[in-house]
């Protein structure tokens, strides 16, 4: 077990596992190996990979949309979709890979991984309440963090952060503008002791 630069290792890992499961595409940017698979093959791919990557790290999703209530919208136009992500890794070499698939927003559903990895149970419950994704075959798909009766799916980009509407944060003494108001010139901003000042 010697540490190797992640960039060189990741490309080899991505292409190896992409070939193994017949992925649509693979990438290894910034040392992060990632493969894309169709949603229909989600469970089957994980079952195949489990023998080589037995450690279930996490599962989550990304809401891709230009219609954002919080933060900045993505650059250019994006295809409206949920991207479901999971991360598996090996425990002898440390090799890890992100498995990604797209599902439609109109009917966000995907098969549950609970039959392959027991640990998917809570991660899927979290993704279900946060994004409104239905994990078919999940034994107990009820809310995990949120109270019963909570309306909406907070990590959807259309879900506003209400406290921010009521009171701007963190107030007028802020060092930097919020991501959504990026038109201010850098030099005009007030300075504070904590700001990174490495250039000086």
């Amino acid at each position: 077990m010697t540490a190797s630069p992640p960039e060189t290792g990741a490309a080899a890992v991505a292409s190896r596992f992409a070939a193994m499961v017949g992925a649509d595409s693979s990438s290894a940017e910034f040392g992060t190996a990632k493969i894309r698979v169709p949603a229909a093959r989600w469970v089957e791919v994980h079952r195949t990979l489990r023998e080589h990557l037995p450690f279930f790290s996490w599962l989550s999703a990304i809401d891709w949309t230009s219609d954002v209530a919080v933060g900045d919208p993505p650059e250019g136009t994006v295809e409206e979709r949920f991207e479901v992500l999971s991360r598996l890794s090996d425990v002898t070499t440390g090799a890890g890979i992100t498995i990604s698939c797209d599902i439609s927003k109109a009917d966000p559903r995907i098969a549950s991984l609970t039959g392959v990895f027991g640990g998917a149970n809570w991660h899927e419950r979290e993704a279900a309440e946060m994004f409104g994704i239905v994990f078919e075959g999940h034994p107990h798909l009820v809310k995990l963090y949120l109270p019963d009766g909570f309306l909406g799916h907070p990590l959807r980009k259309t879900f506003p952060l209400l406290s921010r509407d009521v009171k701007p944060w963190p107030g007028t003494v802020d060092v930097e503008d919020m991501p959504s108001s990026m038109n201010a010139e850098a030099g005009d901003q007030p300075e504070a002791g904590d700001a990174p000042e490495a250039g000086e």
Partner: protein, 396 residues
């Protein structure tokens, strides 16, 4: 009548000649209970002394960091991630910073990396000392707590001396660590480095930590009650641990020699000589002993790093306003509780489009429903405590 039933009856003083009717009783433990390390509620269905099923109820501490991150700039998020696992606040910052530095292509000065590494290991020592002393307390032994917390306070003093914060250092900056002190635009900034005498004090503190470990080994592991309550209790087989994403000392307690410090290069651990301790049985006792040995190894690393601390800058050159190029990156770290990772999706702005936080305690306790099934009620606390979780790290 299961074996566990018979065992429980066998241990009781009263001889029971008839089979008792013990219909299912729901036992609600918490959410406010001293043994649950915060606000965790366990709803257990018990049949006599035997647990039929457990449903952990979490979310009382849920602060929605993944949502909050979407409306903050990258430097502002550092203050948030401190508060995920607050027993080792510094360690939470590092993988987040490394993720951003990878996206920005920054080369972090070696001195800054060493300081990160030293403070991360000190965070590990302080986190493990809390566990190693509070766990016996839960099983009825109060003395180890006094020994360990005294040394932990010295380690926290060292962290505070460098960063200004005992629990929430907020000391990492993109490209390195905080180099400047003093506020106000008119004042000349005073360049801040490690406090005078820090390296010597650290070496001394590490020797004290090693000494207190020796004291505690005698106190705890020589105690028969402790052994009875932990050996063979709460066994997690390696394959179960892996599929539930149980990581860190809990995984190594089950015999899996996996340490992200050895496989990844988020900090220059390859320059240091240290061992990765593992257990053999995966029981509460092994999880306890693995952390004991990890403190020793962490102290070794700190002493080596203090001996070889390079000079130079504390932060790479970064623009005044941080914009992170478009891309996706996952960086994980071997934190005291296990694998802590950040999946950062940047769209080129000043805050992330999406930040997925993978915290160790969440996965570590997700195994509880499986692990507690069929166990005895008195073992709940022994098993719960042995997983060493922090509710802030569970709920995020």
């Amino acid at each position: 009548m299961t074996d566990r039933h018979l065992l429980a009856m066998h241990h009781s003083e009263v001889q029971v000649s008839v089979e008792l009717e013990t219909p299912d009783v729901t036992l609600s433990l918490g959410p406010q209970h001293p043994s649950t390390h915060g606000v965790l509620r366990l709803v257990a269905k018990v049949d006599g002394e035997v647990i039929n099923s457990v449903d952990p109820v979490i979310g009382y501490m849920h602060r929605g960091y993944e949502k909050l991150a979407e409306v903050r700039t990258y430097p502002q998020i550092t203050a948030l991630v401190n508060r995920i696992d607050w027993v080792s606040g510094f360690a939470n910052e590092v993988p987040f910073m490394v993720a951003l530095e990878r996206l920005m292509g920054l080369e972090v000065p070696m001195r800054a990396q060493y300081i990160r590494l030293v403070l991360t290991e000190m965070a590990r020592i302080s986190s493990h000392l809390v566990f190693l002393s509070s766990y016996p307390l839960e099983l009825g032994a109060a003395t180890p707590l006094m020994h360990a917390l005294r040394e932990r306070e010295r380690v926290l003093d060292l962290i505070e001396g460098v960063t200004g914060g005992r629990f929430h250092p907020n000391f990492n900056r993109i490209g390195g660590v905080k180099p400047a002190a003093g506020a106000g635009s008119n004042q000349k900034k005073v360049r801040q480095d490690l406090p005078e005498g820090f390296l010597d004090q650290s070496r001394d503190a590490m020797r004290n930590v090693l000494a207190v470990c020796d004291d505690m080994i005698d106190l705890v592991v020589g105690n028969e009650i402790f052994l009875e309550r932990t050996k063979g209790v709460g066994v997690i087989p390696a394959d179960r641990a892996l599929e539930f994403g149980v990581s860190g000392p809990n995984l190594r307690g089950s015999g899996v020699r996996f340490d992200i410090r050895k496989t990844d290069d988020y900090l220059p651990y390859s320059r240091f000589d240290f061992d990765v301790p593992t257990g053999a049985n995966g029981d509460c006792f092994d999880r306890y002993m693995v952390r004991f040995e990890e403190i020793r190894q962490a102290a070794r690393i700190v002493i080596q790093a203090c001996d070889t601390m390079p000079g130079g800058e504390l932060q790479a050159k970064v623009p005044r306003v941080i914009k992170v190029p478009r891309g996706e990156v996952y960086v994980r770290a071997e934190n005291p509780k296990g694998e802590m990772g950040y999946y950062v999706v940047s769209e080129g702005g000043r805050g992330p489009y999406r930040l997925k936080i993978r915290s160790a305690s969440f996965s570590n306790i997700s195994i509880l429903p499986w692990l507690l099934q069929g166990q005895l009620v008195p073992d709940i606390i022994a098993i719960l405590g042995s997983l060493d979780f922090v509710l802030g790290d569970v709920d995020r």
